[in-house]
């Protein structure tokens, strides 16, 4: 504008001082040029508007779950407050903004608050709520906050710090504490997400009470519906007691455990009287029990191998002396110990993962009905292996027993022969997980062809129909074909292997892949990842109810290469026990699925697969969803917090039904709020109209004067 004025001044001076022909025409042209130059520079100006100075109020109503407690509920008091004439009259005088809150704020209307029927907020985060309110209303002359709440803050930072920093008066209206409150709650569970089978593990729970004085209560630990442990504690108001449980998981898998305390009449909430959590029980070490009928090279070399493997806990018993042996010294000069057969076969057997019998005949040590426990052990997923020798298989009296039932071979009886000759095993499938001595089938086959010879073979009858003959004798036949040497089978959940010789130590001494063979054998017996053809993968990160669970299923062929074009079915079992099929989406060599879980609890996913009608197997995995702890843990009406918030911010505290409105004074701010507005002058329509008229006028004037 100054520039324009200067231009006009210059033009005026020229017009007045210099006697030009057609001075008026000159003046008009000069003004046109001045306006064009003005437009080129795009000038603008800032206009300040002053806003009205009335103080505004933010009304915050707590809608978290704890507001549903007590009778009548805390929120009923809030509704009564909002409908109260005194409140209505007060609030009419000021601009106000209404929000509901729990973990954050949500703009609502007063009528929406009055019509609210359920409290849905899972946590209360007053610090975040205050921060958001102040930030949202920064430019709106916010002079006070009305906080209508029970004060049961349970997440986020300390709200007192926010109140202190911002200095906006908070008027707190406490809703709650109307009846004599009492509550017991489990506030915290400490445990590892992973435990190990047969290894003691600990769970500790913190119990908090208010309204109870020196009360004795029983705290129980359940797995599903089975009581695992119980402890009695004394609890008093305002105190937190810690309870420790120790238990030893007996089975592998993911299990839901619960800590439960009794419900008492009049408790604010009974939802917080039990807490569920998931523990994944893994195998820490493979527990292998080896029973050996007499000291042998086979034992020596296998012991050396297994003892040197940090993944294996090796427990063995060797029969060092037979009843027909004599002793020339007193017993106390011998290091022999009694063989605890009864203890092992009636109590301890389930503590092991794999059972090895080498040249061991049970008959001297326990009755045949103990072998039923071996069968049960395998049925429940244990691995069993019998090696050859003069006391093994039929010669060892196993014909017709529970052990023959689980074995993949049919036994001959006590007349079972042992052929003593040396031989090199003939392998059926060099890429089978048990027999793959190298990464490629070709290399593996060559290694087997050069393996040192075994010596001696137990000539049992034949392999059972469903068994897999992995290796056979090169020339000795019976009516069923070449004598089987290594036979693998499955019995219910467990796996069984028979090796008709006890001289694999020859492979060790000759530096062949002895170690690899036996490690693969152990893995296969365990049914571990190297033995499974189907594997479900679930996400490891925490998932909340309502979020999508995205999982994958990997399928492998018998040589553990990824397998595509398999038929895969997957089901989900919900916490209510409903089993539903899910859609599978094949992606290259894996299969994906997704499921959105709506509620808290354990969700199990079960997948099975087929290839060309051949059943490949099944796998399952579980995930436990829960909301983060919050409202149910600390439902107590927290008047202290509300009083402090009010004091620290310069506001006041009132119980919600005892408000003195005269004490609430909202002050105008000393500095007036200003709104600035930028106005661009150069694009005004009037300037362009003036230009058009001026240019047209100049043209007509020249024409009229005969000038071009």
């Amino acid at each position: 504008m100054i520039m324009l004025l200067i231009l006009l001044l210059i033009i005026s001076l020229i017009y007045l001082l210099i006697n030009l022909p057609y001075r008026n025409l000159f003046l008009l042209r000069a003004v046109i040029y001045a306006v064009i130059i003005f437009i080129i520079f795009q000038p603008s100006c800032v206009k300040k508007e002053f806003l009205p100075n009335k103080p505004a109020v933010a009304i915050l109503a707590d809608i978290s779950e704890s507001m549903a407690l007590e009778q009548p509920s805390r929120y009923q008091h809030v509704k009564k407050f909002l409908q109260d004439a005194s409140f209505q009259n007060f609030i009419k005088r000021y601009p106000y903004f209404v929000y509901s809150f729990s973990e954050g704020i949500q703009p609502v209307s007063l009528s929406q608050l009055l019509n609210l029927s359920s409290m849905t907020g899972k946590t209360t985060n007053l610090a975040s709520v205050l921060n958001e309110t102040i930030t949202e209303n920064k430019e709106k002359n916010l002079s006070a906050i009305f906080l209508i709440s029970d004060g049961a803050n349970n997440s986020g930072e300390d709200p007192l710090l926010i109140a202190k920093k911002n200095k906006i008066p908070i008027y707190c209206f406490g809703a709650g504490g109307g009846e004599k409150q009492r509550d017991l709650s489990i506030t915290r569970i400490e445990t590892s997400e992973i435990a190990f089978k047969n290894v003691p593990t600990e769970v500790s729970a913190e119990i908090k009470a208010f309204g109870f004085d020196n009360q004795s209560i029983t705290v129980n630990l359940f797995i599903k519906d089975e009581l695992l442990a119980s402890k009695k504690i004394k609890i008093s108001s305002g105190k937190t007691e810690k309870v420790n449980f120790q238990f030893t998981p007996q089975s592998l898998g993911k299990f839901v455990y619960r800590v439960v305390i009794p419900d008492y009449p009049g408790e604010l909430s009974v939802k917080n009287n039990q807490t569920a959590f998931l523990i994944n029980v893994l195998r820490q070490k493979v527990r292998l029990l080896y029973l050996c009928g007499q000291p042998s090279w086979e034992y020596k070399f296998l012991r050396r191998l297994f003892k040197g493997d940090p993944r294996i806990e090796f427990v063995s018993f060797i029969i060092l002396r037979n009843p027909d042996n004599i002793s020339f010294v007193p017993e106390n000069q011998l290091s022999l110990i009694p063989f605890p057969a009864a203890e092992i076969f009636t109590k301890q057997i389930s503590n092991f993962d794999i059972l090895f019998f080498e040249n061991f005949s049970y008959e001297r040590f326990f009755p045949s009905n103990y072998l039923d426990n071996v069968k049960k052990f395998v049925e429940n997923g244990g691995g069993f292996i019998m090696l050859g020798g003069e006391n093994s298989f039929g010669r060892g009296g196993y014909k017709g027993t529970a052990v023959e039932e689980i074995m993949p071979v049919v036994l001959e009886g006590r007349q079972e022969k042992i052929d003593p000759a040396r031989f090199r095993v003939q392998i059926a499938e060099s890429e089978h997980p048990l027999l793959a001595l190298a990464d490629s089938g070709e290399e593996s086959r060559k290694l087997w062809e050069n393996m040192p010879e075994l010596e001696g073979i137990n000539c049992f009858g034949q392999a059972k129909k469903e068994a897999a003959v992995l290796a056979s004798h090169p020339w000795i036949k019976n009516k069923n074909g070449y004598l089987p040497v290594i036979v693998a089978g499955q019995y219910k959940k467990g796996r069984v292997l028979t090796i008709a010789s006890d001289t694999t130590w020859r492979w060790a001494l000759n530096a062949s892949p002895y170690q690899r063979f036996w490690q693969q054998t152990i893995s296969w017996l365990l049914g571990s990842a190297t033995g499974k053809q189907i594997d479900i993968l679930l996400p490891q990160e925490k998932i909340l109810p309502g979020q999508e669970i995205r999982g994958k299923v990997n399928i492998f062929d018998q040589y553990y290469r990824p397998l595509s074009e398999a038929t895969v079915k997957i089901f989900v079992v919900t916490p209510r026990g409903e089993k539903m099929p899910l859609e599978i989406f094949p992606e290259e060599d894996r299969y994906e699925f997704s499921y959105t879980a709506k509620e808290e609890g354990k969700y199990s996913f079960i997948a099975s697969a087929w290839k060309n009608k051949r059943y490949l197997g099944e796998d399952n995995d579980s995930i436990y969803l829960s909301y983060p702890s919050g409202e149910q843990e600390n439902p107590e009406f927290n008047q202290d917090l509300l009083i402090k918030l009010a004091q620290i911010s310069g506001g006041k505290y009132f119980p919600i039904d005892q408000i003195d409105w005269k004490e609430i004074k909202l002050n105008r701010k000393t500095s007036q709020p200003v709104q600035e507005k930028k106005i661009t002058v150069w694009d005004s329509v009037w300037i362009y109209l003036f230009l058009i008229v001026a240019l047209a006028g100049e043209w007509f004037w020249r024409r009229s004067k005969g000038l071009w």
Binding site: P295, F301, S316, R321, V329, S335, G389, A508, L509
Partner: protein, 248 residues
């Protein structure tokens, strides 16, 4: 003709004792095998013949009655998981191939049981054995075998080493980490076994007499049981029972 038959008879008889058959049969049974080398290797040839019946009578071990012998360059070494090495003097060191075989055999689980027959402390045999094995497996070390090691409790409960001559109360071990590759006895252990045709023991035991002989015989059996069972008697399950038996 009779002479021929007689000679043939003795030939066949001795064949059984000296492991004449090339192959080593009966795969999982204990085999008493002795190392043949360029030195005094065969000074206790009768020992196994006396050990075998006692071993069979008192333990559940199934053993082959014949004694077998092998050199380090013989591939049948890899069918013999334990080897007895006897000597009383220095010897010609092994060839490169023998060292290579021996090393492979030891690292794959073979066990050497070395018996010094000299009756002397720091004998020439002792020095040669130490040097030879240290050259073969340089990473392994010689250490005294502690008295609570499994050898001393593998079958009989023993408090120290023994033999025909009490040169040392300790056995020495050649350890690669915690794997025992070789056991050395300075006390002529197998010397306690030999008998005359009339049944009397050939050698006296010095200084402990027959009591010392019994202890040495127990140690021999312990070594055999140890060869087949390793550190079995060091397993935790045995300890409470052993503590009671040992009066602790």
């Amino acid at each position: 003709m009779k002479k021929v038959v007689f000679i043939l008879f003795f030939f066949l008889l001795s064949a059984g004792t000296y492991g004449f058959p090339e192959d080593i049969p009966e795969g999982n049974k204990f085999i008493f095998a002795q190392l043949v080398y360029q030195g005094n290797w065969d000074l206790r040839s009768q020992a196994w013949g006396e050990i075998y019946p006692l071993l069979s009578a008192t333990t559940s071990i199934k053993a082959i009655p014949q004694r077998y012998t092998t050199t380090l360059s013989d591939p049948k070494l890899f069918s013999l998981p334990a080897l007895w090495w006897l000597g009383d003097n220095s010897f010609v060191f092994f060839s490169n191939q023998e060292i290579e075989y021996l090393k492979r055999w030891l690292l794959n689980g073979g066990l050497l049981i070395i018996d010094d027959l000299s009756g002397k402390t720091d004998s020439l045999f002792f020095k040669a054995v130490h040097d030879q094995l240290s050259q073969t497996v340089p990473e392994a070390k010689w250490e005294k075998i502690p008295f609570d090691y499994a050898i001393y409790r593998s079958f009989y409960l023993l408090s120290e080493a023994s033999g025909r001559r009490m040169v040392s109360k300790n056995l020495e071990g050649f350890f690669l980490d915690d794997q025992l590759l070789a056991i050395y006895s300075a006390n002529d252990l197998l010397g306690v076994w030999g008998r005359t045709p009339l049944g009397e023991y050939i050698y006296n035991c010095i200084p402990g007499g027959e009591n010392q002989r019994r202890q040495a015989q127990k140690l021999t059996l312990n070594l055999i049981v140890f060869a087949l069972t390793g550190t079995y008697k060091s397993d935790v399950i045995h300890q409470p029972f052993l503590e009671i038996k040992m009066g602790r």
